[in-house]
Point group: C2
Chain length 426, copies 2
């Protein structure tokens, strides 16, 4: 008997028929002898509907008092889901009970709309499991020290599920979603993309943060920190598929490196079009100039990704960095009207038609020449590299976005990601 | 400065535009110098939508475990409302904060879907009011001793508002709804029906329980018990109507009899078509026979209203009573297959084409001849009376339902309810 956490996304909970399928799947695991805690998201579209109503009433306000009310409103979507799923489980002959975040409680800080989980009390849940009940807990939300409802931000239900699994020391946390696992790259771009049976947390972190939107990045961080084995798998399969097949399907995200049975140097290719590049020209190359530029950007809550400072010529340099495309206009304003004049820089050059492509792999640690194969491949395709950044297990390049698909396909082939023999499934 | 509780029904909260109007109205009262606690219902249609989803998953189940989940689900409608209203109030320049029932807390018993309020802790609310905030509290719900969410049953938000007003010792509780007060009878049946400026709690109780669906009966009981002055008024008027006009509009339900400035013997006429009559014929007229018949009916959770036992003839009697039309089929089954055989009765005769018409008035206490004017009026219209029941301040008759409107109109005229001079409004 194992203690298993299931997480179901909004699409999996999208209608009463789908909720019934979720209940059948959970019931099957219980009948196979396991203890089950289930964390469902709100029904798809519900959170947007609720926040849309709020926005009609207060289009622009971002005060703490309004944010608190947004959490009060948005958290109801998950509360409806846990109630409905519990009823569906009872209709399947299970004993089931639902809890909102505050009932567990899932304790968080007070950062409304983007709270962080601080602790989870598992006493109540354990008592229910011991009585043979399935426990259904709201994702996405918690309660702060003063008894206010908080939410964890978009995709927060993944994090809730992993946090519950960590607190309960669950044997595995299964994330059921509308894709059947983590792929070497997006199959819509590269039809030959292959589902991985196993991926390490570090690789998954790079894949998640680089635009593979399978899992919320915070949930992967959490899983890594508390060493919760995570599995991503499809909720669109037959719910009555045998448990011993299902428990080996999808992609396992593991913290045990020796479990990583695939031998590829590069595991996957991530990419993102949400990039924009800005350059401040003719910046006096004095000590502290990078801070003079990036300090105000950070203060404006704009995340900077890649940074490039050219070699100084006659005491002047060009300073480039990338930001999320959503922050592009704000960043430009800041550079033109505040930072540029302050540091005595020349003109501002910008480009929001750029994309980032990254190769990711634990194997890069011990293999030289990986980056150079990447650069050669891109050169052979005639793709100009605008910026480069590297870490221990990834290399990213910024290119013109019209070349993005071409680059991803060429790299996928060059690193033979379509040819690695998959580990046979049990 | 007064402490005022406002309650807004589902229609008043039915869209963001209407919620904005509610916020304007509340803000106007705050600007006039009052402390405001607001109890809104769920947006109209929302509770039905949520319970409809639950019903799709479990059409028939009424176990305690399912009822618990229904409360978990249904309570979210009000939680969304309080969040939206708080945001709208903030957009009006007010400070506002919302609380779900469990946050106040509103303590109830554990009877899911029909819980009763046991106590309300007003400390948190008072602290917010002292800080100049408007406090918005969910109607319809609370928390039981074990931390489970409960709901009070349909229309429970009226009760919540009155209970909050009682706990806070509010100066008045204003129930804003889609009618502009309590009428002498339903204006759709009698166009001459007149809005009352004042009505006593006892009269209102009889009017509410007899089918005038303006207020949930439990809220009137609560208001009477804790002597909370209640006012029913329209939320469809201009929200910027001056406060000193609004505070005298609608109908005041008062516990002070000397405030009752209208002198009519009969204050109003209530009626209900939700009636059904059953008769058990040839029952042996022995001691305890009424209990033998009504005991099992009560045990089946069926409310009995009017009861009639004919004079015994040769040791046999006919025993008639009325039930809600929804319980009619169940009652018949019970009589035919269980009660009838047990008490050795003859055939069962039934009629679900009946209606109840009642005249209500505090003045009946001290005036004789009121009932006889009622009977004479019905006789003159050729309407046969099937059953009669009386209390200190009402007389009810059961008649064929095809005569219901005719009876109501004739009685309204006979008791001159269209002619009483209204007390001028301030």
């Amino acid at each position: 008997m194992a203690l298993i956490v299931h997480k179901y996304g909004g699409t999996s909970m999208g209608s009463t028929e789908r909720i019934r399928n979720v209940a059948k799947r959970v019931a099957k695991w219980v009948r196979a002898g396991h203890q089950l805690v289930v964390v469902p998201s709100a029904m798809s579209g519900e959170t947007n509907r609720l926040l849309g109503l709020a926005k009609e009433l207060s289009p622009a306000s971002t005060t703490d008092a309004v944010q608190r009310e947004l959490d009060m409103i948005a958290s109801t979507g998950e509360q409806v889901s846990v109630g409905l799923l519990s009823i569906a489980l009872q209709a399947e002959g299970m004993q089931a009970v639902s809890y909102a975040g505050w009932q567990v409680p899932v304790q968080t800080d007070s950062s409304y709309t983007k709270a962080r989980i601080q602790s989870i009390d598992d006493a109540r849940v354990r008592a229910d499991l011991a009585q043979g009940k399935v426990v259904v807990i709201t994702g996405f939300q918690g309660i702060d020290g003063d008894g206010h409802i908080t939410t964890l931000g978009r995709g927060g239900s993944d994090t809730s599920a992993v946090a519950v699994a960590a607190a309960m020391k669950a044997d595995e946390c299964l994330i059921f979603t509308d894709v059947d696992g983590v792929y070497t790259t997006d199959p819509r771009v590269v039809p030959e993309a292959r589902r991985m049976n196993v991926i390490s947390f570090e690789e998954m972190l790079e894949m998640a943060s680089l635009g593979s939107k399978v899992l919320q990045i915070r949930s992967v961080e959490f899983a890594g920190k508390y060493q919760v084995p995570l599995r991503v798998l499809s909720s669109l399969t037959d719910p009555m598929i045998p448990v011993d097949v299902e428990m080996h399907s999808g992609t396992l995200i593991t913290f045990e490196e020796d479990q990583k049975m695939e031998t590829a140097v590069v595991s996957g290719i991530a990419f993102s079009r949400d990039e924009a590049k800005v350059t401040l020209r003719n910046v006096p190359d004095t000590p502290g100039v990078a801070y003079s530029i990036l300090g105000p950007v950070a203060a404006a809550n704009i995340d900077v990704d890649m940074i490039l400072q050219n070699i100084s010529q006659q005491g002047m340099t060009d300073f480039s960095f990338t930001v999320n495309r959503n922050d592009f206009v704000r960043t430009l304003e800041l550079l033109k009207h505040q930072i540029g004049p302050t540091v005595g820089a020349g003109e501002v050059v910008s480009d929001d038609k750029v994309a980032k492509v990254s190769i990711v792999g634990i194997g890069m640690r011990s293999h030289v020449g990986v980056a150079s194969l990447m650069f050669r491949t891109l050169a052979e395709e005639g793709i100009n590299i605008l910026m480069i950044s590297t870490s221990e297990i990834k290399t990213s390049v910024l290119i013109h976005d019209k070349y993005m698909e071409l680059a991803v396909r060429a790299l996928h082939k060059a690193f033979e990601l379509d040819q690695v023999t998959a580990v046979p499934e049990a």
